[in-house]
Amino acid sequence: MKVSPRRRSFWRNLSFVWLVPIIALGVSLGIAWQSFADRGTLIEISFGNASGVIAGETTLRYRDVVVGQVEEVRFSSDLGRVLVYVRVDNDVAPFIDESAAFWVVRPEVSARGISGLSTVLSGVYIEGAWDNEQGIEAYEFEGTDTPPLVQPGRPGKRITLATDDGTTISNGSPVLFRGVEVGQLETPRLSADGRTVLVDAFIEAPHDRRLTQATRFWDTSGFELSFGASGFSVDFDSLASLLTGGIAFDNLYDDGEDISPGYVFTLYPDETEARRNRLVRGPAQGVPFTIAFDESVSGLEAGDDVTYQGLDVGVVTELRSRVVDTDFGPELSLIVSVAIDPQRMGLPAGATPEETVEFFRFAVSTGMRARLATQSLLSSDLRVELVVLDDVPSAQLQEMEGEPPRLPSIESNLSDFTATAEGVLERINALPIEEVMQQAISLMDAVETLARSEDLQRVPGSAVALIDDARALVGSEALQAIPAQIEAAVADLQSIVADVRAGGAVESLTSALASLDEAMVGISAAAQDAPELTRNLARLTEEEIPAVLSELQSVAQTAQELDLEALVASATQTLNRVDALIAGEAVQAIPQAVTEAIADVRQVVADLREEGAVSALGSSLRNLDRAMADISVASQDAPALTANLRQITETEIPALLRDLDEVAQTAKDLELQALVDSATGTLARVDALIGSDDTMDLPGTLNDALTEMRLALAELREGGVVENLNATLQSASDAASSVATSVEDLPDLTARLERLVAETETVISSYGARSDFNEQTLSALREVKAAARSISELARAIERSPNSLIFGR
């Protein structure tokens, strides 16, 4: 038996140093395990293009915090997509579920700003978004190139809008609510049938609560130019919406129903349009009806209004045609489908379609009809109008199986209006505007020619010269002095009048007038006999005067044959001479002298006033008054006198006239020719006289005389003549009183005259025609007549210049 030393156990020999590799191994394994455990979850994201994504460098970020890193980038098996494998941190990985979205963030410059600037230096990164709840983990995702509109975890609502035209909207366009951006649009896309453009929009919370079926969206992109009473205005919402387009929305009413998932809003081209289409509170609420029209519905389209007395109550939903079998064969009928909003028709909220139909059944029976009407005066767009008419044939709501009830229609009056408008336009067209223009042009040519003529151009110069002359004349000293003179004279006259009033002259005059009145009463009584007298005169005129006139006519004829031309020539010559005379300097100087004379007269008048002449006048007037009273008494006898006169007229005057006739005949026989000749000679002589130097000197002499008169007046004034005048007036007054007393005897005188007339009457009757007495009487009458004329002239002279009474001239 082999004895060997007991083999030392392997383990006994083991050194403690073996702990070192064991620990090292343990630590290494620990590190390995830890890094393996920590390396996270690998997810696969597929992108259409992974530009800028680099394996090992590109990070995955969530809310801008790095939560993972790209491990590998490769293609899908068919090279159709890029697969990016991302190692995601384990603490985040459980949240990455089906809802997660990934996109590559790149630097981007757009109308809405610059984004992703940090990636310029650090390179692109992948941004991920997911909600805050752990779901079923997923490992394969589809990434997008741009940030998704709805980022998981962002509260809000995603809606779909439908529009006809996608040109004005683009990805990222803002959605505005009262100008505040509350959401964004996604990229527009075409609907499956290609007829409409659909665009998704994301409305952020809490604004998404405003979305109801009452919400209307409209396009606010671009800008709007308007020109109205307030001027020119440019409107646009924001620069971003100007560049990239934008839409806005608002609720048309408050109690809109909530929208259901998949609800598609209509995007209207503008706000007006959007608000106009306020009716459709959702198609569910409109009660459908149909209307059959016999006339053309051209201009009517789906979406047009249905109005009742101007209020939108419904909308046209469909237009279609249908073949209807009638007694005359099949006929094409146009059917318009409309949806009526019962609430807009005044029915209570919550009214059922049956109640609405019932209401229309009643309304139609009372005359409600549908007809086409134009949207506006100028447009040819149509709308459906519900009207209630009295004088329509009765009809009723046609209710058919499987079809909405049909409202009866009546023919519109559209065509009438169109025809009228056309007629107006035709008339305007037919106006001869061109001819008018032609005439206007020729008129203007003529005016132009006239304006260019030299004569017309010279007129202003002549007018200026004329005005200059007139100004010189007005500016002459003599003329300017006249107003002052007149003013002074008027002042003097005023003071005289004042004195007259003070002197009681007016009272005297009044009483004199009263007396005159009485006298007039007497005369009036006498006048009662006048008609008879008149009749006699009339008869006389009718019978006798024509004969006299014929005689006179023959005299005139004779006169006509006379050599008047020579007379006229002489007269002309005379006038020329006179003209020359007047033109002489001396005559020209007369006005100056007259002016001075007036000044003197004024002076005299002033003196007169001072000396109490007026009071004297007052007393003389009183005397006159008294005389007038006497005359009044005397006039009472006038009627008898008148009667006598009438008698004379009736009987004697005709005979007298006959005699006159004869006298006229005699006169006709006289040698008037010679008379004219001598008159001509006389005129010639006068002419010679005027033409003589002496006569020419006359004005100068007259001037001298006037000067002397002036001097005389001055002397008068100085020589106390006024005092004398006073005395004279006193005497005149006395004389007037004497006259008054003598007038008192007038009645007797009248009576005597009366008698005398009566005697005359008898005497005249005793004398026949052609007697000496007659002739004497005729001559006496002539003298009386001349005397009368003289008296008349005297009276006129006194009338003209009462002063002559005073001055005795």
């Binding site: 083991l14 050194s15 090292a24 290494s28 590190i31 390995a32 230096l121």
Partner: protein, 215 residues
């Protein structure tokens, strides 16, 4: 064992070792004592003719060094951030990067210091240890090998120093920053462990082998 040993003994010059002479030398001061002396009379160090646990320690440290050498190569040595770009490079990756950039000299130095030398050390130490364990007779060449290994081992730390210096110097925040990775620590440990391993090797065992049977 004996056959080989005999052959060697016949061919090689016989060497008289202290052990064979019944002496024991102090490993610290070199003073020779008779065998059996427990303590150096000069310096007081523990006297031992042959370290029985030497090979165990060599193997243990060698394994430890090899273990940590794995993460040193797998994990990134450097994490370089330049303007937001972060690049992590392992030792070998760094070498290739340098070579790519045309720095062949530096790439060679790094490759030699970080890969060739540590791996050579592993191989050399393992070779010597196996020879000792099998009792194969050592030659002077083996001893030279041991000396080279012990001398060159410290130069492997050049990589670690580079990382340490760069990490300290290049800290420019966003523009550029360099941070050591796990591999730096691992590599440093690996170098340290292999150095300890080499140190643990008792070179006297190299020529003990042929008389191992006698011992």
């Amino acid at each position: 064992m004996s056959g080989d040993g005999m052959a060697n003994a016949e061919r090689a010059q016989p060497v008289l070792t202290a052990r064979a002479a019944g002496l024991v030398g102090c490993s610290q001061c070199g003073h020779v004592h008779p065998r059996g002396t427990e303590e150096c009379s000069v310096c007081g160090a523990h006297l031992q003719s042959r370290d029985k646990t030497s090979l165990q320690r060599v193997w243990a440290w060698l394994f430890a060094g090899m273990v940590v050498y794995i993460p040193a190569n797998v994990y990134p040595m450097l994490r370089t951030s330049t303007l937001g770009h972060t690049t992590e490079s392992t030792i070998v990756g760094g070498v290739f990067d340098l070579a790519d950039h045309g720095a062949y000299g530096i790439a060679l130095i790094v490759f030699v210091a970080s890969v060739v030398i540590p791996v050579s050390k592993f191989i050399a130490i393992a070779y010597l240890a196996i020879r000792v364990q099998r009792g194969l007779p050592g030659t002077p060449a083996h001893f030279h090998l041991y000396e080279v290994v012990e001398f060159i081992g410290r130069w492997s730390m050049i990589d670690v120093f580079v990382v340490a210096i760069l990490s300290a110097l290049v800290q420019l925040d966003f523009v550029a920053s360099i941070n050591p990775g796990i591999a730096a620590v691992s590599f440093a440990l690996s170098v340290a462990f292999t150095m300890i391993s080499a140190n643990s090797f008792d070179p006297k065992l190299i020529w003990d082998s042929r008389e191992g049977a006698e011992a």
